[in-house]
Amino acid sequence: MSQTQSNASRMDGPGYSRRSFLRNGVAMAGGMAAFVAALRPLAELGEGALPSMDEFLQKHYKEMNEQEMQAALARIEAKVKERWDVDAEVRDVRPRDGVEFVYALNLSRCIGCRKCVHACVAENNQSRAPEIQYIRVLEMPTGTLDIEQGDHDYDHPTVPDAGHYYMPIQCHQCADPPCTKVCPVEATWTEDDGITVVDYDWCIGCRYCEAACPYFARRFNFAEPEIAAEELNTQMSYLSNRPRSKGVMEKCTFCLHRTREGRQPACLEVCPVGARQFGNVRDPESSVSQILETKRVFVLKEDVGTLPRFFYYFDERYPRSGETAVEEG
């Protein structure tokens, strides 16, 4: 605009001509209108959309002391009460000493019923519309491990479908996770028991971690999560299933609010065929240690070097009476 102005002043002396005044005036009005329009979304923020001063000043999870953590938990409980009129218990569950969690999934058993998917949604207070699912069950053609050929949208009347096997994928809780390295604000990290967590209050929603994850295990809240009050799981923890807000990442945490207290993950308990095994890999008697020792085990995308704590395994399968052996080759 300085070009226009200097031209105008050169032509018309020190004052404004009628023409340049009108032109600049209209331009100013247009510019202001555009500016205001750009800011309009701020005015449309509902009540409670902006954080309170306490929330704004809340520290990173690792930097909070006991008092600050208690205050933060109480704040979350109050927000749940305000939004859903439900009394929730929000806790901060810490890792146990000498425990490293490992998950093992038996591909010979999984039938693709997706009960794990929805037990997870119910347990972890994911948004229902659009529904966020941590577990993705791939339907794979028999005889290949090429996940490019997998399909997660299958909807047969019944499962398992002949000629397919099923491969559920969720967060692999890698020992060398790419997702935590790319986070610009250190809102996600790996805990001592091997679980990679997100501080939802620290996440800025840049989605770098989603792009970095080779397993597509992270989910982004594009919309304000929608959960009915009666569906809310009131047993919450800071790092896992407390309600998230729009614009933050979330992921499977091996149900840390359950598993750090010795319970099983929700996806395991609902599995109707016992395809899922979970436990402490540092205990040689645990089922996962036994699986690693005695079964044929593989990890997904071993070549990317993420060192997952999620293993797939097979059973030996001999032909039953009346069956013919599957031809090798």
């Binding site: 331009a27 329009a37 019923c113 609902v270 436990g279």
Partner: protein, 218 residues
Amino acid sequence: MRLLISATFFLLAGWFLMYSGAGALPQFERQHVDPASIAPVPRRAILRDPAKVTIGGIEQRCSACHAIFPSTQDAPAARLQHTEIVLEHGLNDRCDNCHDKGDHDGFVLYGGRVVGFDDVQLLCAKCHGPTFRDWERGVHGKTLGSWVVGSDAQRRLLCTECHDPHHPAFTPYVPLPGPHTLRQHATERHADEHDHEAYNPLRHWRTEAEDAPEEGAH
């Protein structure tokens, strides 16, 4: 030149004015999942010791009836009682292969030893050795309650809590709803089989689906 700049400026200003502001996010229908279908319970309720069944409206120990009525050793088709049982266990199609002839409250192992219903895994182990070995290690089967080995809360399910011993093959399940987020839209393969638009979450952003060319699968 100046005209071009100012025209562009006004056009841009007008465009911002018209089209900025919070765009409407697509609305999604909720997927309904019956809470009963995701209850963490064993597949089957089983008989525990002492085993009792209700026949003719009377709950009885197995041995109480069979003290009077001898069990048949013929093929299952000849059964007069227990007709609700569908016996499809491969070659294993005789009652006495598992149920003890003498002690009807238990199962028969090799050598004639009898175990109760609470130790049914020993019976299954007679034939399913590798699976029993895996079960003992915690590799096969399902553990409810706790992952802590030896914890009181830990409950290892018995064979029959998942498998029907008379009909061990699992019945098929109706799969629960699949992915339902923005990015996880249906793959192209479905376009041939179904109405693709019904699957595509981006359909909410389209005014005329016919005009918009279909994007690739990814």
